[in-house]
């Protein structure tokens, strides 16, 4: 495929903020809604007696949702312009929003937080911004929607901006770039076309703003980590002694000749070759799914991690993490789980729950369990050390999931502090 840049976006909004309409509008304005989908939207809009096109129908997926008229899970939507591929993780704004938004944001680089211009910054907005903060999304777009319903009034926009700025003051993550854009998703103002209704707004349209983001801006600058997913041993005549270590490279680059350390054994070696399919590479950059070979015969298996010897991660058997509970079964002190850190699994026991954190910057309280959608600070004891970086310096090597030993469900996600 053409090597377009890829921008991954998580959207957050409350019920009726017009989020589905916004996404439908982005699809429509980029020519991504096909004739048959558009026909289906026209037909259903007519059946429901609307005198406009209900673009939200483009994304509302499952039968149950169509019946209730609300989205209930994370849906992925795709569109592209000539230069950029976009993936939108659309997460709903009601009861289970925490779990869903955390999930959607975990694979995203940009958050779009939608605010209804008539309602302004509400409690939900606090929560949406809290989560984009928790996940450390570096770019946040605050899209102030339904400007058509407030007469495209600049004062309304400025008031909401000031309220949001007050919220930003409370956050402990100050590296994000926050952009405010006044829009009307329904009317298509400042989505792909610059609004003539709001001459006072001098910034980019939403689509222009998203398009100018460069992968370098979104790529995390950290140390290189190669979690070994799979050991390749062809055992064919041509590759009789080949032992390749495959995985996706995170954080930084690897170069042939780099002195590396293999964890957990702390064995040292040098990178002999870096391969991608039948190509030999001199350098591998973050995000590449590669296979490397080493100068020495080293015993390496799945779950091990290869790092540069000068850039060792933390190796600990006791960790503390911010946990978001994503399953109905609560997390309790003393409970045992399988902890999956990247592709490595160890056993973990909950030692203590230090606090439950209100997801709206209002503080912490004590608790002995975390229920679905709760966020808290939790200490674990592990059966073996894991080799991690704090989440704030390396998203992929600083996060983990907890798997329930009985149901095998993913019950929690953790961000190591």
């Amino acid at each position: 495929m053409e090597n377009r840049k890829l921008i991954k976006i998580a959207t957050a909004g409350s019920v009726d903020d017009g989020k589905s309409t916004l996404i439908g509008r982005l699809l429509y304005d980029t020519g991504s809604l096909t004739t048959d989908k558009l026909e289906a939207i026209e037909k259903t809009s007519r059946q429901r007696g609307f005198d406009y096109l209900d673009f939200s129908l483009a994304t509302d997926g499952l039968v149950a949702e169509r019946e209730q008229g609300i989205t209930i899970d994370v849906a992925h939507i795709y569109f592209n312009t000539d230069k950029t591929n976009f993936i939108v993780a659309d997460t709903p704004g009601h009861v289970e929003y925490t779990r869903n938004m955390v999930t959607g944001a975990s694979t995203s680089q940009v958050a779009i937080i939608l605010i209804d211009a008539r309602k302004g910054v509400i409690e939900q907005t606090y929560r949406h911004f809290f989560i984009s903060n928790l996940l450390r999304l570096s770019h946040v777009v605050v899209a102030i929607n339904k400007m058509d319903l407030v007469g495209y009034d600049e004062d309304v926009f400025l008031k909401i901006k000031a309220d949001f700025d007050a919220l930003v003051e409370k956050s402990n993550f100050n590296n994000e770039q926050i952009t405010f854009i006044p829009i009307s998703a329904l009317k298509g103002e400042n989505i792909a076309k610059k609004s003539t209704q709001m001459p006072w707004y001098l910034g980019n349209t939403l689509l222009d703003h998203l398009e100018v983001l460069e992968p370098e801006d979104l790529q995390e600058q950290a140390f290189a980590r190669l979690p070994v997913q799979y050991v390749i041993r062809p055992k064919t005549d041509a590759f009789h002694d080949f032992r390749g270590f495959s995985g996706k490279l995170y954080g930084g680059s690897f170069r042939v000749g780099d002195q590396v350390t293999i964890l957990p054994s702390f064995t040292q070696s040098k990178i002999k070759s870096i391969q991608f399919f039948d190509q030999e590479l001199e350098v591998a950059v973050p995000g590449a799914s590669i296979t490397i070979t080493l100068e020495d015969e080293v015993d390496i298996s799945r779950g091990d991690m290869i790092v540069k010897s000068s850039e060792l991660p933390n190796s600990e058997k006791s960790i503390t993490a911010t946990i978001c509970q994503v399953n109905h079964k609560p997390l309790r002190i003393g409970e045992k789980y399988t902890l999956q850190h990247g592709v490595n699994r160890v056993l973990a026991r909950v030692e203590s729950i230090q606090s439950k954190i209100q997801p709206d910057f209002s503080g912490e309280e004590t608790t002995d369990s975390l229920k679905l959608n709760d966020i808290g600070k939790v200490s674990f004891k592990l059966s073996k050390a894991i080799h991690f970086d704090p989440y704030q310096v390396n998203r992929s090597n600083g996060s983990f999931i907890l798997i329930d030993e009985g149901t095998y469900d993913t019950v929690s996600v953790g961000f190591i502090v």
Partner: protein, 299 residues
């Protein structure tokens, strides 16, 4: 040695997923239809495990109504890459009385495949079935997980899906459960076509414009053939057509096209305003058609 290699993020993600399948499951299988998506999966699997062979077999559920070009292509590909191919036939499920052939105007063996597939999963004890479905194909697919757990009846419970966070895939399952894996979940139809072009991947000839005996019904172009039910008044004509998806003949409509090369096909897709599933007769039955089929174990 080449210049700085810039990874294609979608390709890198798919390779990551395929390696997770090989590492986390004991008996994975790749569901191969002979269509462009499953052909793309084969190329990605080659890349994921090179220089070793692809460490799982291909499974083709043959409706008996496939385009002969597809079957020929399948056999050639398997031979060229030294892959293991398992074929199970819908006809056998019909003969065993497990499913009944549909009758009439819209008769198709497409939905019957589910039974044959579930039987094959049981027979070989497959714990992971790798499929080429993409989230952009259809609304119900947009919520599908990369690792999608099915119960021992093959059913999909869309309300109880495991959340998938970051790149971490949880493939742990109970005895009898299996996982459907979708490594190209995040690709669009255009991504697939551009990839086929960049990688110069061979695909069956019916994807390119060719002369074919067809007839028109409900605004769609149907193949005129003994497997496809046709009313006496539905007149057969010869047209230049190609297919955008390659499934069972009874549910795959053609589009008028002059595109005879990959370059012109990609150009056509780029400009196209008819979505891919718009040419799938099975989805036109009702708006919720796909979701209903997925719940009972369809691909």
């Amino acid at each position: 040695m080449s210049d700085l290699f810039i990874p294609n993020p979608k390709e890198a993600e798919s390779i990551h997923i395929l390696r997770e399948v090989a590492a986390q499951f004991e008996r994975p299988v790749l569901l191969f239809s002979g269509g462009k998506d499953s052909i793309t999966l084969v190329r990605l699997a080659q890349k994921a495990f090179y220089p070793a062979r692809i460490p799982f077999p291909l499974l083709h559920i043959d409706t008996g109504h496939n385009f002969p070009e597809t079957i020929q292509f399948r056999d050639d590909l398997v031979k060229e890459l030294g892959l293991e191919l398992i074929v199970r036939n819908v006809q056998d499920s019909i003969d065993q009385g497990k499913v009944r052939e549909e009758k009439g105007r819209y008769a198709s063996r497409n939905t019957l495949q589910t039974t044959t597939l579930l039987d094959a999963i049981e027979e070989f004890k497959f714990d992971a079935c790798i499929g080429g479905a993409r989230r952009d194909e259809e609304k119900a697919r947009a919520k599908e997980r990369v690792f999608s757990v099915r119960d021992d009846f093959g059913q999909w419970d869309e309300k109880n899906q495991r959340p998938e966070l970051f790149d971490m895939l949880n493939g742990r399952i109970e005895q009898g459960q299996n996982v459907r894996v979708f490594p190209i979940s995040n690709w669009t139809e255009l991504d697939v076509w551009e990839y086929i072009k960049t990688e110069n991947i061979k695909i069956p000839s019916i994807y390119f414009a060719h002369k074919r005996e067809v007839f028109f019904r409900d605004g769609l172009i149907w193949t005129a053939n003994e497997h496809v039910y046709r009313e006496p008044h539905e007149e057969v004509v010869e047209k230049m057509v190609r297919f955008r998806t390659v499934g069972d003949m009874t549910c795959t409509a053609a589009v008028l096209s002059e595109a005879e090369t990959l370059q012109t096909v990609v150009e056509e897709i780029r400009q196209s305003t008819l979505s891919e599933r718009g040419a799938r007769i099975d989805d036109k039955r009702s708006e919720a058609a796909m979701e209903k089929r997925k719940k009972v174990g369809y691909f």
